[in-house]
């Protein structure tokens, strides 16, 4: 476990260095603060703000007012409270799916590039097949068959369908790292595949992997929104369910109910944009050529 401990420590050092660099880029800093703020509101908010448990027939579909800044929905519930309570599941699925997707992609990509030969052509054939299949449709079809009733299962499903593109990118990264002197030196020293991949290559790809993680999160939210809209993932109260319910209740044709649509949709878009801002400035930091303007 010492190997693991050391790589964890060097990873920590990396993160502190990264944070210092992020502070230099204002857009990235803003993105990061927004991501943190939304996460905080979604996870701590529900503990502070009491949930909306019952309908208020006298308050149905009211536009924004002082008591209800985001208006009320088709059952007279306060949209602001609903948005605060509805973020947890969306973020959790996005994060879990992002981590799982990245994990599978890194494993497949790194193993494929490192071992080459038959392993490589086998894994890449599978990846290519998986890339060619219209995955979103397959996801829709499978989601109607399996009851995706909890956060974990949805995350697993999204990552099963999301990994191949990223795996190809990781593979080409590892291929280029493989030609570096320090990797060749490690190979000559016969340090073993596990050691070389985990201790020599991965730390040098951490930047890249972090950006990949964020983009995997945004695409998880993208697909999740679509699935919820189709009504194939019925669980709990979350932003997706909020806007698709409002849509199903024809809020779109009722200007008074517009807020019920715009509040959850705004939350999703804001979170997506924050992630993108954050990752774009990360890219700028990690890729010195972009910074220097070469």
């Amino acid at each position: 476990m010492t190997t693991f401990g050391k790589s964890l420590k060097s990873f920590g050092v990396e993160i502190i260095k990264t944070l210092k660099l992020i502070a230099r880029n204002k857009v990235g800093l803003f993105g990061m603060i927004m991501v943190l703020a939304i996460t905080l509101i979604s996870f701590v908010g529900p503990l502070v703000v009491p949930p909306e448990t019952r309908a208020h027939p006298e308050l149905i579909n009211k536009p924004p007012s002082r008591e209800h800044p985001f208006g009320t929905d088709f059952q007279g519930r306060d949209n602001l409270t609903m948005v605060i309570h509805g973020g947890k599941d969306v973020l959790l699925v996005a994060f879990l799916a992002g981590v799982l997707t990245t994990f599978v992609a890194v494993t497949v990509g790194a193993v494929s590039a490192f071992f080459g030969g038959a392993v490589d052509s086998f894994l890449m054939t599978i990846t290519d097949i998986w890339l060619t299949i219209p995955r979103f449709l397959l996801l829709v079809v499978v989601a109607t068959l399996v009851e995706l009733e909890n956060v974990w299962m949805l995350a697993v499903f999204l990552s099963v369908f999301g990994w191949p593109g990223l795996a190809r990118q990781i593979r080409s990264q590892v291929l280029s790292l493989k030609k570096r002197e320090y990797v060749e030196a490690a190979q000559l020293l016969d340090l073993g595949a596990g050691h070389i991949i985990l201790r020599e290559m991965l730390p040098n790809m951490m930047n890249y992997i972090m950006i990949a993680l964020i983009s995997a999160m945004t695409s998880a939210i993208y697909s999740q929104t679509g699935l919820v809209f189709l009504g194939v993932v019925p669980f709990g109260n979350n932003w997706g369910v909020m806007f698709s319910l409002a849509y199903a209740k024809n809020a779109i044709y009722n200007p008074n109910a517009a807020a019920s649509l715009l509040a959850p949709m705004g939350a999703i878009i804001l979170f997506q944009l924050s992630l993108v801002m954050f990752s774009r400035s990360l890219e700028e930091i990690f890729n010195p050529r972009l910074r220097a303007g070469v």
Binding site: V27, I129, T132, I133, P134, R135, F136, L137, L138, V140, V141, V142, T144, L145, V146, E147, T218, I221, Y222, T225, G226, F229, L230, G231, V232, F243, Y247, I252, Y253, N254, P255, A258, L261, L262, M265, I268, I269, Q272, L273, L275, V276, M277, R280, G293
Partner: protein
């Protein structure tokens, strides 16, 4: 084309393995074999997923039929007739039956949406709408994205570049469902700029398809808003890809040489930079042509556009499994055909690839 006859001269023995090896060595034979393999994987996967997963639709369908007053016996024969499979046969036998029908071009019959109507007929009635709406938008977004991406690459690190790239990254991450709802809400309901009837359905009632001015005008009026959504949600990707592709082309020696030779900027942009930078994008265009159907499912729901996406939505809502399976199959085949097209195009556009294939 000369590509098709390219085989390796080294294995010219007349033995059976030699001949087989020669056939396998042919690039196109191998490509086609791979494509057929992928179609087979998808068909098999969906067949077994639908039958092996919990919540087996066949059983559910039988229970539905029994609820509507049929005896179990009747319900089973009815289900077997509609799904054209012998439900008591072992799974492997059902599978071969199904595959046999598929090879004959028979996708089975719908059992909820249009009871007993062949799935193939239903899908092909809807396909032109999706191909038209998504295809046109794809081309618009491709051309626009190429232009803007090149502009950004030429003006690297200017405010225009930052604006364009940030804008692209932003619109790339907004789910297209949300864009569609926002457009309907603001254009149709709040500002009332576009009549709502133009955002529901793909034609006004009473308009007959044909080469009439009325039809074409109506077609494009109904297409305008969904088309904007498709363009908006794909533009960012094209722009970013073209920007990075142009940036790397601009660094190539032959561009520097062209500049040194004193060629005009226009000539360099069109003949040297543009042509080479767009190469990888053309492949991507062909690939996304294949994903036309997949991209349309949610948007067609919102605009009640009469395409395959809407059909899939309806099939999902009614759990019409043969239709779902049929759409998945047709979509996979379009994806595979268009990636094959991409391979062809790439070889034709880039002689270096063609030579490599010859050597293989």
């Amino acid at each position: 084309m000369s590509v098709e006859t390219s085989t390796s001269p080294a294995t010219s023995s007349l033995t059976l393995t030699g001949i087989l090896g020669k056939i396998w060595g042919n690039f196109w034979v191998r490509t086609i074999a791979k494509k057929i393999f992928i179609v087979w994987v998808v068909v098999t996967l969906t067949f077994f997923i639908i039958r092996a997963l919990p919540g087996n639709p066949v059983e559910i369908f039988i229970i539905q039929l029994m609820d509507s007053g049929l005896s179990e016996e009747e319900a089973r024969t009815r289900a077997a007739a509609l799904m054209r499979i012998d439900l008591d046969a072992p799974l492997s036998e059902q599978y071969f039956d199904y595959m046999g029908n598929l090879i004959k071009g028979d996708l089975g019959d719908s059992y909820v949406l249009a009871r007993g109507k062949p799935v193939a007929d239903i899908i092909f009635a809807r396909l032109p709408w999706t191909l038209f709406s998504v295809g046109t938008s794809l081309l618009i977004s491709f051309v626009l994205g190429m232009f803007l991406g090149m502009l950004a690459a030429y003006k690297r690190n200017s405010w225009l570049d930052h604006l364009l790239t940030n804008f692209s990254a932003a619109i790339d991450s907004i789910p297209n469902t949300l864009t569609a709802i926002i457009l309907v809400l603001f254009l149709g309901v709040i500002w009332k700029v576009v009549p709502l009837t133009l955002m529901r359905g793909s034609l006004s009632p009473g308009v007959q398809p044909g080469f009439t001015w009325e039809f074409i005008a109506d077609l494009f009026k109904h297409y305008a808003v969904p088309g904007t959504v498709y363009v908006f949600s794909t533009l960012g990707g094209w722009m970013l890809a073209m920007r990075s592709s142009t940036s790397s082309t601009l660094g190539e020696d032959y561009v520097t040489v062209a500049r040194a030779r004193g060629l005009t900027d226009m000539r360099i942009i069109t003949a040297y930079v543009g042509r080479n930078a767009s190469l990888p994008l053309v492949t991507r265009l062909a690939i996304s042509l294949g994903f036309v159907v997949g991209g349309s499912i949610l948007i067609e729901q919102i605009f009640v556009y009469q395409g395959v996406g809407l059909l899939l939505g309806q099939a999902v809502a009614k759990r019409d499994y043969p239709v779902m399976q049929g759409i998945l199959l047709v979509t996979t085949i379009t994806v595979i055909l268009s990636t094959a097209l991409a391979d062809l195009l790439y070889g034709w556009l880039d002689p270096r690839i063609r030579i490599q294939r010859g050597v293989e």
